[in-house]
């Protein structure tokens, strides 16, 4: 693996399986990727591909029905999977790695003033007094473009965009190295979405933070992406830098996905993928995309390994064997 000085996060064979009444849900099933400091990686995937579970696995926000949680996660060289839950809570979560959860604007506590909510992580993790934490929250508010007057408001008094900014502020107050953004703009209007992405771009520069952006929206994902990881049926099938990915994706699934994105201009014919992704409970042997793949051949009956295409680009597809 790339033992780069600037490497921030290394994930090896991360697995997160859940028990369900119908069987074991292999939501995250052997995920590998690597992320540098001050870099944003987009995890692209359709609903049910396990991308939200990946966020949960990284932040160790696990439900009770976990069947398997294994692999290696290095954050700045430190192995995280060996930490106890208590150590993880004290040293990692919201200290070095934080999260803006899905539909964060609806995830704010309705009975706490938003200023207090933003101050809370600092009081818990940095152990500072409330006045000081509130002062820092005020500062953070101005940096995410929320008027300081809003510190004393409740979540329901704020618009969706403002609430999303508050959620972002909350993820940043402890100055973490890495913020996981789970669908940060999917419920927002187009203009608000654009404003939030402008904000995230500025934050990335200002705070030198790394982002993992989890989304299904290919078009908006390009707003933040330095690198793109495509997830399908619990696995990452392709990782590449944004430049090469958006111009020429390698994996047939990624290619199809790109071809399905409607564009404002241009005459490109839209395509779609026939069929639906396999159930995470009953996964096929061999390549998981094979059943829907237009380019499948005999080899696809076996599980493809990850092929390194150079320049930190990997692809999990037999078409690239020997490259």
């Amino acid at each position: 693996m790339a033992e780069n000085n600037s490497s921030l996060l290394d994930v090896h064979d991360l697995k997160l399986h859940f028990r369900a009444s119908a069987g074991i849900v292999q939501a995250v099933d052997g995920v590998n990727f690597q992320l540098n400091r001050n870099e944003a990686v987009v995890v692209l995937g359709e609903s049910g591909c396990g991308k939200t579970s990946l966020a949960k696995a990284l932040l160790r926000l696990l439900p009770r029905n976990v069947a398997e949680y294994s692999g290696e996660v290095y954050l700045g060289g430190e192995e995280l999977m060996g930490l106890t839950d208590e150590e993880y809570r004290k040293q990692i979560r919201w200290v070095r790695m934080s999260m803006v959860p899905q539909a964060a604007m609806n995830a704010l506590n309705p009975v706490l003033r938003v200023g207090d909510q933003v101050a809370e992580p600092m009081m818990i993790h940095a152990g500072i007094k409330k006045e000081e934490a509130l002062a820092q929250a005020r500062d953070m508010f101005s940096r995410v473009g929320v008027s300081a007057d809003f510190l004393h408001r409740y979540a329901f008094e704020l618009s969706g965009g403002m609430r999303q900014r508050v959620a972002i502020a909350m993820s940043l107050v402890t100055l973490p190295d890495l913020v996981v953004l789970d669908e940060p703009t999917s419920a927002l209007d187009v203009l608000t979405q654009a404003n939030i992405f402008n904000l995230l771009k500025r934050i990335k520069k200002e705070f030198e933070v790394s982002f993992i952006l989890i989304t299904h929206d290919i078009a908006t994902s390009s707003e933040l992406a330095d690198r793109v990881a495509v997830m399908y049926a619990g696995q990452i099938v392709e990782v590449g830098d944004a430049e090469s990915f958006f111009s020429a994706p390698l994996h047939p699934y990624a290619q199809k996905l790109m071809a399905s994105v409607p564009r404002l201009r241009g005459d490109q014919e839209l395509e779609f993928i026939i069929g639906k992704p396999p159930s995470l409970i009953d996964l096929p042997t061999g390549c998981r995309f094979a059943a829907r793949c237009p380019r499948r051949f005999e080899k696809c009956d076996q599980d493809p390994p990850v092929f390194d295409m150079g320049n930190r680009r990997i692809v999990k597809c037999w078409l690239y064997e020997g490259n």
Binding site: E46, V190, L191, A194, N195, I218, F246, S260, P262, E271
Partner: protein, 342 residues
Amino acid sequence: MAEILEKKLKDQDFSDTGALLQVKRLHVWFELRRFGFGHAGYVRAVDDVSFELKAGQAIAVVGESGCGKTSLMKTILGLNTPIKGDIIFDGMKLSELDRKGMMEYRSKIGFVQQDPYGALPPFMSIRSILDEPLIINGVKDPKERNERIRQVMEEVRLSPVDDFIEKFPHMLSGGQQQRVVIARAMILEPKLIVADEPVSMLDASVRVEILKLLENLQKSHNLAVIYITHDLSTVRYFSERIFVMYAGKVAEKAVVDEILNNPLHPYTEALLTATSEPDAANARIYKEVPPGEPPSLVNPPTGCNYHPRCPKIIEGLCDLEDPPEFEPVPNHLTLCWLHKDA
């Protein structure tokens, strides 16, 4: 208030122009009540909107949440009652319909909703879901209903029919659920389909499939379609004309290419700027989009609704006077003072 309305509606005419749907100076205002009684103002969800739609024509209504597109849609479906103005659909005047007339009116408009899972009663099989509109609209013969159900399922490509007909919505994928919703909208053989964000809840890989299905149905049945969306990038695959709505008003109307290539209203411009295309270059630039939020529909600003956010505001005009409809380019209308000299 009533006086203003009266003035606005003075020169209404209901001449027959051969259009399938005529929306005439439609005002959908919801009364706000204080403590359950006592007037506290109006929410001007749709504020003086007029347009016509010919049989077989597809238009897109584009706007952000709260712009009034949903209220407009519900009014056309006969679910909201306009406070002023009228809708004439297929020779039927909405304001003058009795119960029976309303049934007929509604049966001629199909409704495709945003969230396919929510739009299907979870306790009914696909057969009962499709049976319902037929039973309600008086198709008594079970054989005929069965035939119609099978036919419409074939049409939306839920085939083989027997694999789906006894299933329940939760057993289907999102795309299949949306096909059921479309089948239900089509089963009474409507002349108009109102599609409210029909693909926004679906995965990218199935979106196109549904859009193409709608397009095929529109062509093969000569359907008029009102496609309501917030996403400008999907409209050109489907519609001929775009109406851009902002704060209860139609800010701009034109054919699709005109809107995309020559937006006249600053709000349309902002929408186009904000809409992303998958391009790695996006990450390196900041988008020039106006800050702020759409105005309150209870106390809209004086003058142009958009003036508080507009980068091209003409002080002393935009903030004071309501812009009328200008037509700087033939068939390209806009509510913007920038084009007052056109």
